[in-house]
Subunit: 354 residues, 2 copies
Amino acid sequence: MASRGRRYGVTIAVDAMGGDHAPDEVIKGASDAAAEGAGVVLVGPEDVVRERMQILNVDLPVHHAPSVIGMDDAVSTSMYRQRSSLRVAVDLVAREEAGAAVSAGNSAAIMAIAIHVLGRQPGIDRPAFGGPMPSGHGRTFVLDIGANAAVKPNNLVQFAIMGEAYVQVCHGIEVPRIALLSNGSEPTKGTKVIKEAYEHLAKLDLNFVGNVEGNMVFDGAADVVVCDGFSGNVLLKTAEGVAGEIFHLMKNEIEKDFVARVASAALIPVFQRIRRRVDYQEVGGVPVLGVDGVVINCHGRSQALAIKNAILQAEKMAGEHLVERIGENLHHESAESGRRRRLARALHLRATTP
Amino acid sequence: MASRGRRYGVTIAVDAMGGDHAPDEVIKGASDAAAEGAGVVLVGPEDVVRERMQILNVDLPVHHAPSVIGMDDAVSTSMYRQRSSLRVAVDLVAREEAGAAVSAGNSAAIMAIAIHVLGRQPGIDRPAFGGPMPSGHGRTFVLDIGANAAVKPNNLVQFAIMGEAYVQVCHGIEVPRIALLSNGSEPTKGTKVIKEAYEHLAKLDLNFVGNVEGNMVFDGAADVVVCDGFSGNVLLKTAEGVAGEIFHLMKNEIEKDFVARVASAALIPVFQRIRRRVDYQEVGGVPVLGVDGVVINCHGRSQALAIKNAILQAEKMAGEHLVERIGENLHHESAESGRRRRLARALHLRATTP
């Protein structure tokens, strides 16, 4: 049915109808990914997708799904829509007809459908959204960036183990530095939940480097930063807001000043390189971690570039067996000699406060 | 003892020994503020302060305080040090010998001493640190930015009322837009605490505009943004980190490129104006709100400019009777006809979860 990717022999099911610029930008992004050797199948209403492909001069396999989940649809609505492009894309992963699903649609619906259709992977209580953020020395992977507004310490411990595996597989860092987001670097900083998570993380076999504050996420102090989904969202949105505001100010200030306007022409490539470093489209999408399969959620505003990068990222996650790697890391931590009881506590801990 | 400010007839007690660049930068900042008409008294070991003043060619009144609280001293230690420059500065406020205290010292010690010496103001359960953040259209005042890692809904409601008064007095906005920081703009977003606070804020007489996400803090969507001290710290530090990282990247990229290096010379004034817009030193300090007196904490790295701005800000807060204004706003909300019972609930609410 779908063309198989050359690198890993996996096919990525792409929700052709998800996102503000679907289906055109999704089709273009999928076509660009296929041109780079990825195996893709577009999922959506066959007539619509084929018509747009013809106009865009793209030829890719299509898997029919008659309905669509809107960006503002309630999660409950999206769960009932069993033949939506998003649902069918994830179903293909569950049936092992695809190695991963990619969608720029409704985040809450993607998380709910991923959990419902694929199930949580053993040892994970709460799946999370992971965010690769640009940082001074590469990328810092932050999770959870929005799925769980409130967490317990054991959730944070599991996020750390999932983040470790993601960075090992996708960023090629064998012993990543794992940190906990807090309001100070001392172990005594943070809420009760953070302090308990700190204690447990310090006992694990992973390379836990302690607490970091928001600024340290961007100076490359850690490879993985663990937090609840509320703080993760604050971090992500603040970063977007500040970057946007600085570029906006810069544009305004340059336009006010004739000499600056002339000189700035010479700086266009510099500004472009910087924009590219901080642009979410370059980063790809936000993986759903902790479900039994690979699913990536792209930004709703994604254009072809973001879709292409997310497909290549999904191909790597599936091809390099990320889900299995998370399982192995969980197993390693709980089997680590002499630590068994301690870790069992950490992983199944009942917190006294939410 | 101290020279009285011309504008408001208030004197600001300045902790000469607080901060990384004390006493020299503090003395210079105090001298600059005095030159602009502020009444100041420097608090610290008289011999040290007078010696440095002589070298710096500054002549200001000094109030003797023999000891100093270090940046890393525990709060408990600082509480015992009753003759420290910080403690004595706050004592002057309590004894009404000064209208406000300014210190670039240890934040935790400042909050603890302010609460201990001045007491909470009636109607406020938890004082907060307020942060004026640069935003697209002026400043957004965010609180709490670090004093209370976990809060209850009534704390957030009180923060909103304190923030309203601060912005009325210090930013001159009579009907400020008040928002709640959340992980989405819908009322259903956020933790249990946020959702409860939303409900109560919606019932008050203040101009509550709903939830905002981190990015909206910087695009001027609200004049006051209310949050717990953990999220507030994440927001503040992320903003600092991203801004720093962008300027750092820009410098690196420009240095790599000869044409850009030459052209960038013409852009120096533009870069300086932008830096100035996002520089905490221009903003002044972080007020302690909810205690019965005016206290401002400056960034530990403050230099003369930040100290001067904080002194002018403190003068305004004291001279325009901020504490009384907070009291009036609290009273107005609880006296507002037909709302009495509802508000009593909001202000003394017992939350079911922390």
